[in-house]
Symmetry: C2
Subunit: 683 residues, 2 copies
């Protein structure tokens, strides 16, 4: 009676195997390899070429941090496999406010992921095709529009088209690193085109030197962005979910470290000199007119030769993987939205699957915000990176701190098993996670404590070094989002109070009158009339509000011609207004008949194209809105399916943004059987 029984294998079949999970979740963190080494080197070069000798150490610090963060998230995945990620951890362990701080940080970060990834993608395209340099901003915005269009249309992330570029990127950059290192060991190291350039160095005080090193480290930390994505998508993995998610995380972390360290090494070997202001490079005459090629492009050109097929392949896969990374934000955003909505901090409509309208609004807002930022900052990667990683580290720090609190509570529970309600999330997959021993908890506690401490330090460093470089904007936006979410929560709470039932209820409505609203003699009106007759109300009448004497006369004639036995009442409208005479009539009826229920039947067009909604139903909606304010009135919508509504059936099977990351079963959508649409036309 209620749909096919749920075939378990089918459900499992909709979940992600690791080979698809890796590209879906890893395109964001791996793509940062395309800009993190470059920004690291660039900041160091502000102090002069000599500072490049610090680069390996700064890179090492980033790698150590990356290892720590990956280890921390392994613990987080085990403890909170329900997909709430840092937000859930902070919310449950540190309270509502901490959770909302994380949520607002993540929201800002989704926008910045789009912005930075697209800006870097365009930068790498321009590095391959310098003729496109004058159209940097335009290209970036076009890419944002394309991504938005793809997500508005609906496309599944777990398709091969999305998996291939990530694997190609990993493979080709890895080969490049191996070739570069092999050539070095063979005594023929690659030499970058900028190797001969000097740089105008700022003279720095000792404090300035330390600050510069810290800034370089902070920029290198952009390599860590996106590591948290897997912790939000655990439900999407196949069983055993936690184990598979953890393995994918570690694999991703390993690849990220190899690519980051390898690329930095080859860049330093081949002496890529990359400056914040290209005209600070000594020996380059074209600095004002030509674009400075990205670090990865210079390494590729040095390793494989300029304008070779391998060079173009590296640039193409790099640009592609960066655009995929931007795409992840469009998919991750609804996921966070649904978690926030479940907890009552975002419109409830975000919590349920399948509302294309809601998703569309989200996609459009994300695209507009990203385009605006790209426009304001002229798609300048270096400036944009300054705004980027604040949000990431806010959520890292609070998430890890929450984990520390979580393990401390677990420990105290082991000691006093009776005390305290279980604060843990319900396990998505109970057989997946055996209860932890004291030793395992202690180990996890230490790992997360180190993670929390390190990310907190980095957050401070990042804030101090970037605040005046534009990061203040992030600190302005986050509180706004925070208070918006707070407001939504308080509003829902008040409404909940307002509609709470009283201890006892008496059903008081009596009487049952029905009105069919008639404009002109048309099929939808007749269908409404048919339904109203079938519902056998105590009394039924058709009402026409007369705005035009000619039309009223024609309707009366048609009424007789169609041989309709329902009484047709004509209401005059001195002010050419449809709803007012109707409302006055209903009110006067209710004065006579007491608390009578009046059902007003109105035809409602069902259409297939979004733009048809502009052309239909507005008059009906307006009348409905006014009628709904009248006591005792209920409005009955009788659907009329226009031919175009057939299209709805085809469209319903399109995937929604973020669907593949949720791991919820999706009901197979049956196509509309042909016979039904004929039945419709028979009415």
């Amino acid at each position: 009676m209620i749909g096919d029984p749920l075939p378990t294998e089918k459900l499992e079949g909709q979940l992600l195997p690791k080979r698809f999970a890796l590209p879906i979740f890893a395109s964001d963190p791996l793509s940062s390899v395309a800009y993190a080494p470059q920004e690291l080197v660039m900041i160091l070069m502000v102090g002069g070429l000599a500072f490049l000798s610090f680069a390996p150490w700064v890179a090492l610090a980033v790698v150590v941090l990356l290892v720590t963060v990956v280890a921390s998230y392994r613990q987080l995945i085990r403890a909170y496999p329900s997909g709430g990620g840092d937000y859930e951890v902070a919310h449950r362990n540190l309270g509502e406010k901490a959770g909302l701080v994380v949520a607002s940080a993540l929201l800002v970060d989704y926008v910045m992921t789009v912005v930075v990834s697209v800006a870097s993608g365009v930068d790498n395209i321009i590095s391959a095709i310098p003729e496109l340099n004058p159209f940097r901003v335009e290209l970036a915005i076009v890419f944002v529009i394309i991504l938005a269009a793809i997500n508005l249309r609906g496309v599944s992330e777990s398709s091969k088209a999305f998996a291939v570029p990530t694997y190609l990127f990993i493979g080709s950059v890895f080969v490049m690193i191996v070739v570069g290192l092999t050539r070095t060991f063979m005594g023929d190291p690659p030499v970058a085109e900028s190797a001969t350039f000097g740089v105008e160095a700022e003279s720095l005080t000792q404090a300035g030197i330390i600050l510069l090193l810290l800034r370089s480290f902070a920029s290198g930390c952009s390599a860590l962005t996106g590591v948290e994505a897997i912790s939000n998508g655990v439900p999407a993995f196949r069983r055993p979910k936690v184990k598979n998610a953890q393995r994918t995380l570690v694999l991703m972390g390993g690849i990220a470290i190899v690519l980051f360290a390898g690329l930095t090494a080859v860049a330093l070997i081949s002496q890529v000199h990359y400056a914040e202001d290209p005209c600070h490079l000594i020996g380059w005459s074209g600095c004002a007119t030509e674009p400075q090629r990205s670090l990865i492009a210079q390494v590729a050109a040095a390793t494989f030769g300029d304008a070779t097929i391998a060079f173009y392949l590296i640039q193409a896969t790099t640009a592609l993987v960066l655009l995929l990374a931007a795409n992840t934000a469009f998919n991750g955003f609804p996921l966070l939205g649904s978690v926030l909505a479940r907890d009552g901090y975002a419109p409830k409509s975000l919590s349920t699957r399948g509302d294309r309208l809601i998703y569309s609004n989200g996609v459009v807002i994300l695209a507009l915000a990203a385009s605006l930022i790209l426009l304001i900052f002229q798609a300048n990667l270096t400036v944009l990176i300054q705004l980027y990683i604040i949000g990431v580290f806010v959520s890292f720090t609070l998430g890890q701190t929450g984990m520390v609190r979580h393990w401390l509570r677990e420990l105290s529970r082991l000691r006093h098993p009776a005390k305290g309600a279980p604060k843990r999330a319900p396990r998505a997959d109970p057989d997946d996670a055996p209860p932890l021993t004291r030793g395992a908890i202690l180990r996890a506690l230490v790992i997360n404590a180190i993670g929390a401490a390190m990310t907190a330090v980095v957050l401070i460093v990042v804030t101090v070094t970037k605040f005046t470089h534009g990061a203040w904007i992030v600190f302005l936006l986050m509180p706004i989002l925070f208070f918006l979410m707070m407001g939504v929560n308080r509003y829902y709470r008040d409404v909940e109070k307002e509609i709470e039932v009283d201890p006892t209820t008496t059903f008081g409505a009596t009487g049952d009158h029905a009105i069919v609203l008639v404009g002109r003699m048309q099929k939808p009106t007749l269908k409404a009339l048919d339904y109203a007759i079938a519902a056998r109300h105590d009394s039924l009448e058709a009402i026409h509000v007369s705005l035009d004497d000619e039309e009223t006369k024609r309707l009366k004639k048609d009424w007789v011609k169609q041989n309709i036995h329902v009484k047709l009442r004509i209401l005059n409208s001195p002010y050419r207004d449809l709803s007012y005479p109707l409302i006055t009539y209903i009110k006067s009826r209710r004065e006579e008949h007491g608390s009578e229920v009046v059902t007003v039947y109105m035809p409602q067009y069902v259409v297939g194209h979004w733009w048809e909604n502009i052309l239909h139903n507005h008059k009906a909606r307006r009348i409905r809105q006014k009628l709904l304010l009248v006591h005792g009135v209920t409005v009955s919508l009788v659907p009329w399916l226009l031919d175009s509504s057939d299209l709805l059936y085809g469209r319903r099977s399109r995937p929604l943004p973020g669907q593949d990351r949720r791991g919820e079963p999706v009901r197979p959508v049956p196509r509309r059987p042909v016979v039904e649409s004929n039945e419709k036309r028979r009415r």
Copy 2:
């Protein structure tokens, strides 16, 4: 029973007396005095100072054209007093396509009215306060946003706040002209600050000289914009409508001529030298950094002295009247929209009064388009003027041509009274316009023929001289709008065909089952249940789709506790989807019971703030959309008025954009009586 009888005096009282009609309709045409002489002089100066001797003749040509156009519109008002203006005339006399060309021209023109008026207003503010020069674009966009906000909120044009600035502008500019001319006759002519500047002249061929004179004339013709506004607003005038409208038109034309000619004269006397590129002025060192002051500002400074109270008054009233002119576009647009909707070329929802949502969309679109154009062209008045008057003259020319056709038809009707159906618009006010004599028709024919010929020539001149200066954009936009309106019309025609009734109808639905959708135990659900019980359907059941076992259990308990005797059916949802189990259930019922009508009751929240709609009703809307696709289903919305819905009553009395120009009676809105909201809470 159907509202208070219509008090005729009250209706008349809502219409516009001439003293309010003049500022409402004249702010647009009169404000063009602020830029037309300036653009006229500026173009001439491209050829050198000597060319200024042509200025009186060019200005004279503009005045002659203005007289002709005013005379032509006097005829148009008499023949078509229903307020459709040029669009209606072209549509009725030259056919659908000509009508749509006029409509698309006018739509483009509404945007350009906002853009040009705001740009000129900001220019005049900067002329008074040069410190604001760096913020030209920002200021312009802020003004557009303010105008949009005012119109979204709703404000009546026929308030004193709107009338005063126009009268002040007329008065102060008139005084300025008189003072300037008086000083000249007294032998102490005013001298402009730019009088001593020379100008770098282009050397011109003979053809170039003619082209320059034509360009100057074309720019001067911007003085004519807005003259047509009165012909769109005849219904808003008090009786006798046609006479009053004609008188207001002539008065407005007279004032426009006096101000335009007077200002041009004083500007030439005081030797205002205004250049397209200020650095072409010889003798002005500050050209690159300081803004060039507007012609009207230079005249005011020369006449009254710089930085005097009179100078600031002129600048302030000029800026104000320009902003009012921009405001007219926000009011005129819905008026045109309603006429187009009536004829089926625009969404029908535009045709009915009172849909704030529709108006809001229109206001927002207009504001966005204007802001975008201001941004792209950097609020540069001279460039923007190039895009402006194309649309005006397209509608002038087609309107006048239509009038010629109209009078020819009238003539032939006088000769053969039997022939041809009356093609004239139904008279708004029959006693207002006596039948015309042959002589009167002939005179009108001649006037409109001259008008048509002259505006056609100007249209060609304007197109030729401006096409490459940016006017091509207008020629790109107009066809797009044209085909959009065509498409809307064809769509409506197809739907009309689809829903046409068959010759005979049988009412086939039988059976009457009702379902109340229950989520949680809350007051709105109980109200829906109450109404469903009152409607006494053949069978009634409550249905809960179970997504969460806990909640279902709680609901069952509450159901018993509230002592509800309606059967509660629980449907399981394997895919966590609300509508699918429900639809499957209804379909299986209908398989058993045949063509049964199933009424589904759903609570609907009624809210008072627009943003509350983001937080409510989405889940209900989605379920409703899916239910409406199921055969035999009708959805009954049972309203639940949240406390905030009280606000709707206050808001309903706010005026809508364009309301004052329509001349339709507006029903006085009763405020919500307090007792009602208590009755609501009792339920």
